[in-house]
Symmetry: C2
């Protein structure tokens, strides 16, 4: 089937169901950031291979919404497909819901089909309510399953593996019993065993059961569901994924196993209070809950369950890393720092060599140019040398010169720039180690005269980056209260950036996790001890350069000072990331004494912690990069 | 009737209505900060004369909730009243709603009576929902009116007066037509004339109709309601308040007048879309709206109105001062600066004289000690000399030494401290001028050796105060994003404060207004050009001193810089307040060059703008206070 045939098959299904439109949102049932190819329905239907997009099909039109990162790619891939591109980053582009609300169909009530597995409960509700305002009905139905029968990739069947409590810092038993206590306190009738928590977020499941897997790129998770009850805990997973060691582990921890697809029937059989996190749990799971009949007869109407939308207690707890997890992060950071040191040494030497060979003779011995793609591969290779390295934690962004200004830039082997001994390189990368997850951005100057504005930009970013990680604040402070600390210097120069200043980071799990973050928009979550967030302000000059400087930092208690006037507990950050900054880009006249002191102390620490992993030449290189700045 | 008799009379009413409890919340029907004595029902019922409190009466108990400012006063005034004091600032004190939810009454359904005029629609709804959870019903009923028949003060009948567009900067016609445009855009059916807006906030009415009055302390407002419709505008007000000039003014502007009490019947007669701001409009007005019958027969069920809860467009517009209002503020600030200069000069001379007389002879010529109360009276007198001064904008806070650490301290003639030529004085005061409203806090050192910590505290506050008013930020930034800028320096020292950093300020209206502010808690309102807010960080050391430094500042467009990377519009603040700071309290080693430059430039401006209003001696004094600091 080609795309036109797929659209025709979908329209036949829509006709059968009496639907005026069908939406394919580009999600999976687990609200995952990285999806297994089994769920790439939007890509299959449209022929567009970008990571993000939403398809809408009506009786006579087909449209794909995607953002500016993918305009070019979508333009090429949608050619001859009859699919119209909706440029959702453009100010005048209607949202999918707005566009659908404008659909006029006469003669019968307009209904839109949505696959409830692909929408969170909260999103589904919001869409339904918005549609209702426009007199549009919604039907929960999966129309892709009946037509995508040929060549659909299976759900991954890789083995899952136990993740030792030596790394996790807490046993499954302990985690489960703590979660049960929390849930029991939320059950209204206090019939304390009569409850269940539906868990569908893959990182929450991995954390709760101390398991890991290889089902998706970048995140070591296992495709599965969990239902946690007062007296049992059931993992819904493809049985092929469980070898005998895994089975023993699950048995030992009293975790029942059922087939992945059995979760819907299982939920339908539940009674009592059923907790779910409506931001994560998909609508299909919610629809499986047997709601009480509205007016039960006195003889006993059908007994149902009491569904309660809560923020997942696993999400909240997982974000607060324990001492073992944090110690693991520190170990991973030393590995990561060593890999980056080797990488930057290699890059410097490679650029010098390539220049020398050009100077010495017009004929270079190696004519292949050095590209952004080469840098990504080389960095991966250096990381892979590290102990306990598993995989990258996301696709490396190596943005040379103007490419650095494209915030979600992703070079490919085919499309990437040549890197020379001049100008600016932005490098954002990270690793998954058994010990923990890393994510770091450094921006370095590769050669040539540094423009004055480049130094100013780099220094505004650096000052904000330091201001955030050295902040001290009372317990209860939210991340968005600290956001301006990282922006205040660039704001004075009339500069800002559009992405978040800091995202939460998991422990050998998602490089992006909630609920903690540092962003412009309000997030009610206060920063708490053990939260890990990134600290990554940036400045982007289209066509010229992008500058971003990123460390991971963790919230720690701050010492009480003698000057304090309050009973507040005070918090601050510990910097986890261990890698030097390019000091050649610093405009020293903008730096305060305190900032220079901080930078020098940080460089002393980087050298001290990373150098034991290096050979002598590498140590010399690192010592040069960590040399103290004079005030 | 004494308090016991009043309680007995209330209980008789409660019995008749079948109520287990009745709540008297200490509000008025207009959600006013300052209330006319007619509405001081809580005070009348309890005998407690504090400004803030809530009474709850049950069949056998009577309780008064009030905060720590009033514990002492309440303890004295409630003696022998049978009323129990509930200390609501204490951590273990249940809220009124919590306490009522704990009431156990058997035999019949428990109902609580609330006067719907004394609760906003939103609050009433929230209370009703919380009560419903506990199986408690709510009855809308005014039980004070039938029992407070003797000696109840009338609603003030002072004349209202037109407020010239020369001060307001916009005619009533223009304001009303703009509000109508906004409302028409919100009417769903676009039958554009078929709507009404209920206005009950007194400052919104004063702003919309360009009228002012003398009905309450500190705020020049007129007790009234307004209903704005597509084709008319009706002011509900005691007719005695309107003299012939006012009547001509209202006639000229096509404003109908009806008696104050007629508003309920009038609202009941309205059809179409009725807009109200549920945060301000009281529940009784909402209950007067004729809701549509739920299932109208096809022959035409009773036609009702469609009530819509919106943020008042008057509130939003009033906050954005026009050029004339801002120019008026600048004029008022010069008057205010002159008054404060004269006051501080008088204070300095008086303290020197009192010390000299003590030194010269043990017998002072004037034995009366100088008190906080004297300072408040003297400052009022200096302000009253100013052109267009009308009244104070709130009760002056003159907190000497440890009293400065009590955030809502209010000295009285009877209870106030003696002020000597030593230690710290915090002075927070403001004026209502026809030109605009002022609010300023200065903290000064009156004599003796300055403790090191006092200098540090003063300087942390000053640095934060400067950081906020010199901030530059992209349009769309909310006040709570800037809050940490004012706190970052004291946070580093482990110090914070519990009050807001900045409140909105009206133009010859409330010294506190919404929706704009700078606080810890999230407020979705972005800062907009023309907003006036205060900038008032503080540090409070119980028993020692309180330091607060406050200017009013207004949001203005910032110039685009050459370095900008974005299309954002940029905003910054103009400082409106014109009064020197006590530079003797500054710890210079903590100040940056930029901060000292800002301070010196500000002092140059203060001298330039205020000195023309002063005599030669006063100018000399001001010049000395505004002397440049050396870097």
């Amino acid at each position: 089937m080609d795309v036109r045939e797929r659209l025709a098959a979908l329209r036949a299904q829509m006709h059968e169901q009496g639907l005026a439109a069908y939406v394919v949102p580009g999600n999976d049932p687990h609200a995952s950031e990285y999806m297994a190819s089994h769920w790439c329905e939007m890509q299959w239907l449209s022929g567009f291979n970008g990571e993000s997009g939403t398809m809408v099909v009506t009786t006579d039109r087909a449209l794909l919404w995607t953002d500016s990162r993918y305009y070019l790619q979508a333009g090429i891939e949608l050619k001859d497909s009859t699919i119209e591109l909706m440029r959702e980053s453009d100010i005048d582009c209607p949202s999918v819901v707005e566009w659908l609300k404008g659909l006029q169909v006469t003669g019968y009530g307009l209904r839109v089909g949505l696959n409830p597995e692909m929408f969170s409960v909260n999103d589904f509700k919001a869409w339904r309510e918005q549609f209702a305002e426009a007199g549009i009905g919604v039907k929960s139905v999966d129309l892709i399953k009946p037509i995508w029968t040929e060549g659909r990739p299976a759900i991954p069947s890789d083995k899952l593996y136990p993740y030792s409590a030596d790394f996790a810092g807490e046993t499954v038993e302990s985690k489960i019993s703590r979660m049960r206590e929390i849930l029991e306190s939320k059950v209204e009738s206090r019939k304390s065993k009569d409850y269940a928590l539906i868990v569908s977020a893959l990182d929450e499941i991995a954390w709760l059961l101390n398991i890991r897997g290889n089902d998706v790129e970048y995140n070591p998770v296992v495709i599965s569901y969990v239902v946690l009850e007062g007296d049992k805990c059931t993992l819904f997973v493809n049985p092929e994924k469980i070898d005998s060691a895994a089975q023993n582990y699950l048995d030992f921890n009293n975790i029942d196993v059922q087939p992945y697809e059995a979760v819907f029937d299982y939920i339908h059989g539940l009674r009592g209070t059923i907790f779910y996190d409506g931001a994560k749990v998909n609508e299909a799971l919610y629809e499986a809950i047997r709601k009480p009949t509205p007016a039960p007869s006195l003889k006993g109407g059908e007994q149902g369950a009491n569904a309660k939308n809560i923020q997942s207690p696993i999400l909240i707890d997982k974000a607060k890393k324990n001492a073992v997890e944090l110690e693991g992060e520190r170990i991973a950071m030393r590995q990561d720092g060593a890999a980056l040191t080797r990488f930057f040494k290699w890059l410097e030497e490679t650029l010098v060599k390539s220049q020398e060979s050009r100077v010495k003779s017009q004929e270079s011995r190696d004519k292949r140019p050095l590209t952004e793609w080469n840098l990504m591969e080389k960095l991966h290779a250096f990381r892979a040398m590290g102990e306990n390295f598993v995989e990258e934690s996301f696709g490396t962004i190596a943005g040379y010169q103007g490419n650095g200004a494209i915030v979600h830039y992703a070079a490919t082997r085919e499309h990437c720039a040549e890197v020379k001994k001049e100008g600016m390189l932005l490098l954002d990368s990270g690793g998954q180690y058994l010990d923990g997850t890393t994510d770091i951005t450094r921006t370095v100057w590769l050669g040539g005269r540094i423009p004055e504005q480049a130094k100013l930009d780099y220094t505004y970013v650096l000052k904000g980056h330091i201001a955030l990680q050295t902040a001290r604040f009372p317990r209860g402070t939210r991340g968005n209260q600290l956001d301006a600390l990282a922006k205040q210097y660039m704001w004075q120069a009339g500069i800002t950036f559009g992405h978040g200043t800091g995202h939460g980071v998991g422990h050998f799990l998602g490089c992006h996790e909630g609920p903690q973050n540092v962003r412009t928009d309000n997030n009610p979550t206060p920063l708490e001890v053990g939260h890990i967030i990134s600290d990554e302000p940036g400045i982007y000059r289209t066509g010229k350069w992008g500058i971003r400087t990123e460390n991971l930092i963790t919230v720690i208690p701050a010492k009480q000072t003698k000057a304090t006037t309050t009973e507040d507990e005070w918090l601050t950050f510990e910097t986890l990331t261990l890698c030097f900054y390019d000091t050649s880009l610093i405009e020293m006249s903008l730096m305060t004494e305190d900032e220079i002191d901080w930078l020098n102390a940080y460089h002393v620490r980087v050298y001290k912690e990373v150098s034991p992993l290096l050979n002598e030449e590498e140590r010399k290189f690192l010592a040069r990069k960590c040399a103290a700045l004079e005030i």
